[in-house]
Each structure stands twice: as C-alpha cells, then as structure tokens.
C-alpha cells in the first residue's frame, strides 16, 4: 500500500491550507474529506433570483423542519444553500437535556469555507497575553510576533479588503482597497469618534473578498449573497483558492466521501500510521497510510476522531495523556444588538449590493478596565436606506407595510424610507474546563461511528458581557442621533454554537500535562500528529477566528516540512 508523505483530514478552511502548503513544499498529500465533492457550476446558487427557486427563498418548511431543524438556525441555511449544510438526521450528536448546543456545519469538499462570513481580523498581542495576565486557563505558547509573518503570508494569498486604522487591538493587515462606507455609516463613524474621543472606531469590515483582481481570481462583481458560493472565485474558500493551488502541484490526491473512523496507531514507534475510513458511497472500510497526519476536520470532529481512536496506550483518547482533550470548548457570544432609525441624509441613498458590513473594534478592557467582566466584544452591522427600490432589500413575510391597498399603496411602497442603523456584538468567551465534549458510546451516526456528546453553557462573564452589549449598542445608536432605538429581542443568548466559532478542545501549551498541542500545533504525545483547526485555541478573543486558524496552519505546515528535511519527523 502507498504511504503518502502527509495526510490531511478535512478540506475546509484549514484543511485546504494544509493541503496547499504541504504540496507546494513538495510533499505527496492525501486529502480526505468526509462529505461529497462539489461542482461549483451546479452547487453554487448566488445568481439565482427569488423567482428561480420554488418557494422564493422561504424554503419548504416541512422539509427544512424534518431534515435541518438545527442547521436552519444559521442565517445562511436556506432554500438556496441547505445542500451545503449537514442533514441533521444523518449527523446526530447529543447534549444534556437542559444544555442544548447548536452544532452548525457543512460536510463537503470545502466544508464551511463555502458558507462562511468572510470576516477576517488579526489578533493582537493583548489577545495572546490575556490568559497569562489574568490567570485564566493556561498561557498561549505563541505571541503576536510569532504569528505576524504568517498573517502577512495568508492575507497576501487570500486577498483581504479593508482600511488601515492603526488600532492596537486589531492590527492592520495587507489590505486590498476597502469597500465604501454608506453615507449612514460615514456619519456613524464621525459621531462615534467625536463622542468617545477616538476610543470607539467604526471601520469597513475587513473581509476576504477581492476588490481588485488578485492572483488569478476576479474582483467581486457585487451580486450580494456570498453564502451561496461564488463562481468568479472572488471570495476566499477552499474550492475557490487553496484547492486549485494544491491541485496545480500535481501532488495532491483528493478523496471525498471518506469518513474517518479512527487513526491508525503504531505502538512500536508511538506514531500515527494513517486512518481507517468508511467510504460514504460504497460503505467499504478502507485504510490509508501517511508519514504525517494533519487533523483539520473542525474542532468537534477532530476531537471526536481522537477520542474514537483510544487504545491501550492512550485509553482516554489518542494524544490525550493530559486528559485535557475535549475540554475548554469555546464559541463567540452573539445575538445581542440594537437597531435604530436615523432621520436625515434624505438626499442620498446607497446603491448596489455590498457583501460586507462595518466593524467597531473592541473598546472594553483595551485602555480602561471594565469593572464587571473580562475581555470584550466587537460590533458588526451597518447602515442602509430602508425601502424596496433596487429590489435587493426584499420584503420579508411579516414586514411592515404602508396602510391600505390599491394604486396609492403600490406607489407608497416604492418610496425610500429613512436610514436604518444596526449594531450586533460578537463577544469573547472564556475557556472553562466544564465546557466539553465526550463520546456518546450509545449513539452512532449513519456510518456506525459513535457521536459527540457536548456539554456547554455560557458562564457569568459571557452573560454579563451579553447584557452590556445590548446596552452599549443602544447607547451608541442614540449617540449617532437615532430615534426608535430597539434592543434586539433575546435578553439572554441562544445556546453556545450559535456563533459557529466552536474552538479549543485540543489546546496548545508549553506544559504537556495541561495541553494537547505544543507551540507548533504538534501533539505533545505523538510527534507526527498535528491539529490545526480551531481545536488548538487557548482563548477565543472576539475576532472572527478563520484568519488565525489559517495562519497557524501555514506555520505548522512549514514547521513539518523543515522537520522532515532535517530527518526529525
């Protein structure tokens, strides 16, 4: 049987990067993906109009309720896109009855990189040192200076549009030209800067969408709904960018429909030898071998593979001599925010469909300490003119309409409304040993593989922060001159998982007794086993995490190749 130089498990955000880096550095790589292959010309649906789909985007409620009861909680899972999300009936997991967890995911070549939110923000030195300064969990074994060159490297490849602001809490990157702020957003920026004397900065979202042609990929043409795919490859995803790069080397073998049951372990050498899979189509059980294994299957799936790979040497899960594996599950707390109406700027409107919003960089616990809670949050949102003209801001069922009916009503609906301003927070979640996943030995998925049992809840710090996000969203909209400021409905956050930023179950650290991975994403226990998806995170910060995952993946791949050249791996 062929032994590959490296095996990468999972083809999402980080698996695509691992495959690209390792093949470009000359390794023969097998990329295993549990889901099906996709065909962009068929699967991408961004250029469908509402009248091109049966229920105009509303979907068949009965079908969605039956097959996607959890996935449909995600804003991006709808009639156009549900084929990029897992069928909940086929992909079960369990939780304690009183602690639901929303596990939102896709399983196909490209994983969630197809439907992701495309927002990319660097971590700052403050984020990497927070655990150590505050005595929370364990310190990061890596600092900003270690990862900065890899941020540069990744940004240069994926293409990030954004504006330079010189903020210490979200360092500037290698930016393509920024997208424009709307008139409403420009006004918000100025009002906030004045009111908080420069401490609260609104900038255009930093996003992995091209504002000019870049590395053979076309600039965005602003059709709008990126979560449905992008046939011009204008936003970054595995199928749009890293997978073609890996394939161009001629050294990649992509094997979709390969559901990993467990990793193969050689007790004589204390190394992993490859993976045992079940073919999702033929149901055949197969084995593949490689010198190095990269787990990039996403936090919960990678941890599940390791826990299901327990053996006599590692009875609590492969590479789990620390006992930490599965613990410290984090997410970002969101769903708190406010919306207001701004009267003024009647003579301007926004035109076109910008697939990006605004960002207000974190301001809590940056320069001044918040007395109630640790860490902080950022705001995302934006300001657009209300009304239907242009046809992009479509009516929703249950929307507010002018009174009456008939010709006058028809005309009234075409009038532009006032400007609307919206702010929604994304908050940091502290690592807690109680938030964890295990294996439920009594429940198996469609392939007979025991499923994750997830036990997680928000703790006091997140709940205090959530409440403060609600207040500060309203306070800031009022400072911008809004009236009718409405704080969003949910007084407490939805269950963890709703942020779709689950991370942390195989954390890094310098001490093998309290961490699974070393500073190179290499397991302390087994030196040819690496994990570079969100599992490695020691804290969560409040930045959208994908950029950081990609940077650590590229760094780990570089380390592996250097070690192999030296004969140390």
């Amino acid at each position: 049987m062929k032994t590959y130089d490296a095996m990468v498990i999972g083809s999402g955000m980080t698996g695509g990067w691992a495959a690209k880096e390792l093949t470009e550095k000359g390794l023969e790589v097998l990329l295993l993906e549990g889901g099906r292959d996709i065909d962009p010309s068929v699967d991408y649906s961004e250029h469908l109009a509402p009248y091109d789909v049966k229920f105009r985007g509303l979907g068949n409620k009965k079908f969605m309720d039956e097959n996607y009861p959890i996935q449909k909680e995600c804003y991006a899972c709808n009639e156009y896109t549900h084929h990029f999300f897992v069928n909940d009936k086929e992909h079960p997991y369990t939780t304690p009855p009183d602690r639901p967890f929303l596990y939102l995911r896709g399983r196909q070549v490209g994983g969630r990189s197809i439907m992701w939110g495309r927002q990319v923000y660097r971590w700052s030195e403050q984020d990497f040192t927070a655990n150590e300064r505050e005595g929370i969990a364990t310190p990061w074994p890596v600092g900003y200076k270690d990862i900065e060159p890899w941020y540069n490297y990744v940004e240069e490849f994926i293409g990030v549009s954004g504006a330079r602001e010189g903020l210490e809490q979200v360092p500037d990157g290698q930016f393509l030209p920024p997208m424009q702020l709307t008139a409403g957003e420009q006004l918000m920026r100025e009002k906030l800067l004045t009111h908080w004397r420069g401490e609260r900065v609104l900038t255009i979202g930093r996003c992995a969408i091209l504002t000019q042609n870049h590395r053979g990929r076309a600039a965005c043409h602003y059709c709008g709904p990126c979560e449905r795919g992008c046939i011009t490859r204008s936003y970054f995803s595995t199928p749009n960018a890293t997978l073609p790069a890996a394939q161009a080397t001629g050294k990649l073998t992509l094997r979709p429909n390969s559901v990993v049951r467990w990793l193969l372990y050689d007790p004589k050498t204390n190394r992993v030898a490859g993976a045992a899979i079940v073919d999702a189509v033929t149901r055949a059980d197969l084995e593949f071998r490689a010198k190095v294994v990269f787990l990039c299957a996403s936090t919960i799936e990678s941890t599940r593979v390791l826990l299901n790979s327990a053996n006599s040497r590692y009875p609590n899960g492969l590479a789990n001599s620390s006992g930490v594996l599965g613990h410290y599950l984090m997410d970002h707390v969101n769903g708190a925010g406010a919306t207001g109406i701004y009267e003024g700027l009647e003579n301007v409107r926004d035109i076109g469909r910008r697939p990006n919003g605004i960002y207000i960089a974190r301001f809590q616990n940056v320069r001044t300490k918040n007395p109630k809670y640790l860490r902080g949050y950022a705001f995302q949102g934006g300001s657009t003119r209300t009304g239907l003209l242009g046809g992009f801001h479509l009516a929703s069922l249950g929307g507010h309409h002018p009174p009456g009916f008939g010709v006058q009503f028809k005309e009234a609906m075409k009038q532009l409304g006032p400007w609307q301003m919206t702010l929604g927070g994304v908050g940091e979640c502290l690592p807690s040993i109680e938030n964890r996943m295990e294996i439920n030995k009594h429940v198996v998925d469609k392939w007979g593989i025991p499923v994750p049992h997830i036990t997680a809840s928000w703790h006091e710090n997140e709940l205090l922060m959530y409440s403060d996000i609600r207040n500060s969203a309203a306070e800031m909209l009022e400072a911008c001159g809004c009236r009718n400021v409405t704080v969003w409905r949910d007084a407490t956050p939805k269950p963890p998982g709703i942020g779709i930023h689950e991370m942390g179950t195989a954390r890094m650290g310098n001490d093998p007794k309290t961490s699974v991975l070393n500073r190179w994403n290499q397991t302390h226990d087994i030196k040819n086993l690496f994990i570079t998806d969100g599992s490695f995170m020691v804290s969560s910060a409040c930045q959208n995490p994908s950029l950081t995952y990609m940077a650590f993946t590229a760094r780990a791949a570089n380390y592996v190749v250097e070690q192999m050249r030296r004969g140390d791996l």
Partner: protein, 131 residues
C-alpha cells in the same frame, strides 16, 4: 384570492399581482410550504363572503367593484366592525401578496428596477437620490 391580491397591488403602468401570478404562489405556499396560515385564510375568505352577502346580497367575487373596494376598505380600517373579525386575515393576505409580488420577475424587474441576480457589477457607496 386572485381578486384580493390584484386589489392590493393592481395593474398600473407596471404589472399587478394577477400578471405576476401572485395568487398561484400563495396557493403553493399554503399547499406545500408554510402550513400554519392555511386555516386562517380559509376562514377569512368564508367570513368575507358572509359579510358580502349580508351587505350586498352577493358573494365577494360577484359584488360590484365599488362594493368590493368598500368591503376591503372596512376590513383594513382600524375600528370598523369588519376589521374586528378580518384584520388579521387581511394583514396576512397583504403580507403574502407583497412578498409574492416583490419576489416575482414582474414585481422585481418592472416595479423595483431590480438589476437581476448578478447585480450592477460595482459598489460605490452612496449617491444622491435621483429626482
């Protein structure tokens, strides 16, 4: 339904609800999609006919156009006897009609100037409102 939809969004220089086949879309939603409003709408239509027979001696569709407008106006006006019974029904039908119309090819392109699913190709922020 077809008549009520067209009364809400009539044909003018641009397509109305009938030309945009809005009532067929609502039928589809009630048959296969959102199930919950179905009884509300069936019951509402029955009430409308009962009230029309009482006031005009005819089912709603057979009443004179002016009588139809009169009855729908009563239902949509707060405080009227008809609104007490039919307000929620009317609000639901109106909302379905507006959605069906604005997601139809006619409603989107003719009425709202929708540039098509691939957009206008650029984004340049805000611009003065055309007079």
């Amino acid at each position: 339904m077809d008549l009520i939809c067209e009364m809400i969004i009539p044909q003018t220089r641009t397509a109305g609800a009938r030309a945009a086949k809005v009532s067929q879309f609502i039928d589809l939603l009630l048959a296969e999609g959102e199930l919950q409003p179905r009884m509300e709408i069936v019951a509402g239509l029955r009430c409308l006919d009962e009230r029309s027979r009482k006031l005009f001696g005819q089912d709603f569709v057979r009443a004179k156009p002016t009588q139809q407008v009169d009855l729908l106006t009563r239902i949509s006006s707060a405080g009227s006897f008809e609104a007490a019974v039919g307000r929620l029904f009317f609000r639901r039908v109106k909302s379905l009609t507006v959605f069906g119309y604005h997601t139809s090819r006619e409603g989107l392109t003719e009425e709202l100037g929708y540039a098509g699913p691939s957009g206008i190709g650029t984004y340049e922020g805000s611009a003065p409102v055309a007079k």
